[in-house]
C-alpha cells in the first residue's frame, strides 16, 4: 500500500490547516496508508477536552483518523516545551488515544518511506 505523509506546524483553530489536513487524510485513508507528523505548534492538535464554540473539535477528528489507521506522531521536543509529557510507550495523558509523542527522527523516516508528502502551515 502506498503511503502519504502530512506534516503540520500550526495549532488548531488559529489556522485552518489542521482541518484541511483532516480532509486530506480522510480522503487518503480510503486507499492509502497515512502518516501525520505534528511539529511545532501542531503538537496542540491531539489535546483532550477541546471545546470549540464554532468549529469542529480537531482533537476528536484526529483521534478518528488514528482509529482508522493513520500513524499520528508528535515531535517530543515541541511537545515537552508546550507541556505535553509522554509515557514510556509514547502515549500521553493529555492526548487522545492512538497518538504518540516521538522523536524528530521519525520525520525523515516517514518522508523516506512515502509516495507523497504534503506540508501545511501558515
Amino acid at each position: 500500500m502506498k503511503t502519504l505523509t502530512i506534516i503540520l506546524a500550526d495549532g488548531p483553530y488559529i489556522s485552518e490547516y489542521a482541518h484541511i489536513a483532516f480532509k486530506i487524510a480522510d480522503a487518503a485513508l480510503k486507499r492509502y496508508h497515512v502518516n501525520i507528523f505534528l511539529y511545532l505548534d501542531a503538537v496542540h492538535i491531539p489535546r483532550l477536552g477541546q471545546s470549540p464554540a464554532f468549529f469542529a473539535d480537531e482533537g476528536e477528528l484526529f483521534k478518528e483518523l488514528a482509529e482508522r489507521g493513520a500513524a499520528i506522531r508528535a515531535c517530543s521536543r515541541c511537545a515537552a516545551a508546550r507541556g505535553y509529557s509522554a509515557n514510556e510507550d509514547g502515549s500521553s495523558r493529555d492526548y487522545h488515544d492512538g497518538i504518540k509523542i516521538t522523536s524528530l527522527y521519525d520525520l525523515p523516516e516517514m518522508i523516506q518511506g512515502s509516495d507523497g508528502v504534503i506540508t501545511l502551515c501558515r
Binding site: L40, C78, E109, I111, G113, S114, C121
Partner: protein, 114 residues
C-alpha cells in the same frame, strides 16, 4: 523519497520556524540528500556574526556551520533586496540566482516549508 528541499522563508529568532527547520534538516542527513533553501526573510539566516547568547537561544548560524553536509542555498535576489549582499555571510551558504534556486526545488523529490 531520496532528496528533500527545506524552504525557509521566515527570519530567524523571531519565530521558532528557522530553528525547527534546521533541526529537521539535521536529522534528515544520512537518510536523504538535504538542501536548505533560504528565500525571502529566510535569507537573514545567512548573516555571519550572530551571537544569541543574550537571548539564551542556540546560535542558528553555528548550526548551519556544524552541519556542513547540508547544502545551503541562499536566493540571491532575496539577499540583495535585504541589503545583505555586502555583509559577511555564513561560509557554508551558497549564493545562487533565481534560476538555480528553482531548479534545485524542482529536482528534489520532496519540498517542505515551515
Amino acid at each position: 523519497m531520496r532528496s528533500v528541499f527545506y524552504l525557509l522563508d521566515t527570519a530567524p529568532y523571531g519565530s521558532e520556524k528557522a530553528f525547527g527547520l534546521l533541526d529537521a534538516a539535521a536529522v534528515s542527513l544520512g537518510r536523504m540528500e538535504v538542501t536548505v533553501g533560504l528565500y525571502g526573510d529566510g535569507a537573514y539566516l545567512a548573516l555571519g556574526d550572530q551571537d544569541s547568547r543574550a537571548l539564551a537561544i542556540p546560535n542558528l548560524a553555528d548550526i548551519l556551520r556544524a552541519y556542513g553536509e547540508i547544502r545551503v542555498l541562499a536566493h540571491e535576489p532575496s539577499v540583495v533586496d535585504r541589503g545583505l549582499f555586502s555583509e559577511g555571510l555564513v561560509e557554508t551558504a551558497e549564493l545562487v540566482d533565481e534560476e538555480a534556486f528553482l531548479v534545485a526545488m524542482e529536482s528534489s523529490d520532496c519540498l517542505i516549508l515551515l
